[in-house]
Symmetry: C2
Subunit: 240 residues, 2 copies
C-alpha cells in the first residue's frame, strides 16, 4: 500500500525524502486556490516564480505578471493573488507568471527529486485524490504555511486529502494522523473554525471575505493542476 | 493580556522571538516526563546535554549519566530514558547528566534569549500552568518532535496547556488553535488516539507500554521543573 505523509512547512521539507513521490503543494489562502481557478478559466499556463524581480522580468517575455507579498498586490504587478480576478475567462489563453509570499517558494522547494508536483486546493480536492489513487505512488502533501510557520488552512486541506485517501493509502506520519482528525472534527464548520486563525484574520483585514468563501468551496473543478517543466497546466482526469 | 505560541519543532524555533518569554520544552515520550519524575523522586539536579560524548564526559565530574538514542539506552550509559527508573527515590540526591534524541537538543535551542526555560509534562501540567499565570510573561511551548518532525504527543501536550491557560492568555497562533482543538477532541481517549501515532508505535516495539501509561498521567506532581544555569531543578510553587 502506498503511503501519504504531510510536511507542515517548507522549512521542514528537507526532512522528507521526495524521490519517486508525488508532492501536492497547498497554499489555500490563496496561491494554489488562485492558480487552480486561473486554469479552470482557460489561462494557458501559470509559471510560479519564487522572487519578485525574477517574476517582474517575465513581463518582457510576454507573460501577465501576478505578484503578492503579505497579502497585498506587490508594487508594479498587474495582478495580485485573488482567485476572483480569473473568473469569466478573464485571462483566456494568456500565460501568467506569479510570485507569492509562501506558495511559489513551496513549489520551488518541492521540485527537487519529486516524481511529480501537483498543486492542491479545496476547489479540486476530489479530482486530485482520484488522480493520486490512479498513479499508485507515495504522496507528500507540502503545506506552504505562513513564512515558515504552521498554518491552519493548509494543514486542514492536508487533513481533508488524507481523509479522502485513507482507504487507499497508508498514513503513519503523526502530521497526517493529527490533521485528518482535526479536519474530520471541523469539516462541517470549516469557515467558523478558520475564522479564529491568524491568516484568516489577516485576510479579513484586507476585505477579502469573498476570496475566503471561494477558496473554501469544495470540488468546484474536476481537473488536476500539474507542474510540467516550469509551468502549471490543467490536466483533465479522463485523458490522464 | 499575555500570549501563548506553539513551536511544533525545534527546526522552526528560529521563527519565534524568545526575548523576555518563558519557553516550556516538551518531549512527552519520554525526556521531559522522565526529568520531571526524577526531580519528583529527589534527584538533586538534571543537566541536559545535547551530545553523547559531552554527556559521557560528565561521569568524570561525578554525575550519573543517562543516554538515549532512537528510544534505546545508548552504549556505555548507566541509565536510559525511562521515568520508571527514578521511582522510589532510586537516585536520591544524585546529580544526573542526560542526553536524548530530541529533548535535550530542544532545551539547548530554547536557552538563547528566553527569560526562563521550563520543561513540561502531563505529569505536572497544572503546576506549570499555575506558575505561568503567576509570572505574567508571554509563553512559547516548544515541542521536541521526532528528529525535527512534528509529533503527536508533544503537540497534544501543547494543546492541553493552551486549553488550561485559555482564560488567562491570548493565543492567535495557528498552531495553538489547532492543537487546543485537537486536545479538546481527544482528551478523554488520549492513549487510544496516540496509539495510532508513529512514536507510540516505536515505543511499543521496545516493550515500554508501562512508560507510555506513566507519561500520560495527568497532574501526578505539583511542582515546576526549571532550568537554573545549566541544570534543571525542582521548584515548589509555594516558594516561587
Amino acid at each position: 500500500m502506498n503511503k501519504i505523509e504531510i510536511c507542515l512547512s517548507p522549512e521542514l521539507i528537507h526532512l522528507h525524502d521526495l524521490k519517486g513521490k508525488i508532492v501536492v503543494v497547498v497554499d489555500i489562502f490563496r496561491a494554489t486556490s488562485t492558480m487552480v481557478t486561473g486554469l479552470a478559466n482557460k489561462v494557458k499556463s501559470i509559471t510560479p516564480v519564487a522572487g519578485l524581480e525574477a517574476c517582474r522580468a517575465m513581463k518582457e517575455k510576454g507573460y501577465i505578471i501576478a505578484g503578492e507579498r503579505n497579502g497585498q498586490t506587490a508594487a508594479g504587478f498587474e495582478l495580485g493573488n485573488s482567485p476572483l480576478s480569473y473568473l469569466n475567462n478573464a485571462f483566456e489563453d494568456k500565460k501568467i507568471a506569479v510570485t507569492t509570499t509562501n506558495g511559489t517558494l513551496t513549489i520551488e522547494k518541492s521540485k527537487k527529486d519529486a516524481a511529480e508536483v501537483l498543486i492542491g486546493a479545496f476547489l479540486n480536492l476530489k479530482a486530485t485524490a482520484d488522480y493520486l489513487i490512479q498513479q499508485g505512488k507515495d504522496v507528500v502533501i507540502h503545506c506552504a504555511g505562513w513564512k515558515g510557520m504552521f498554518n491552519l488552512e493548509d494543514s486542514l486541506y492536508a487533513g481533508a486529502l488524507v481523509n479522502v485517501l485513507a482507504g487507499h493509502f497508508g498514513y503513519d506520519c503523526d502530521g497526517a494522523i493529527a490533521m485528518k482528525a482535526l479536519y474530520e472534527q471541523h469539516q462541517d464548520d470549516l469557515k467558523d473554525f478558520l475564522s479564529q486563525a491568524s491568516h484568516a484574520k489577516r485576510l479579513q483585514n484586507h476585505n477579502i471575505e469573498a476570496d475566503i468563501d471561494f477558496c473554501l468551496t469544495l470540488d468546484k473543478f474536476d481537473f488536476i493542476a500539474k507542474l510540467q517543466g516550469e509551468a502549471l497546466v490543467k490536466v483533465d482526469l479522463q485523458v490522464v
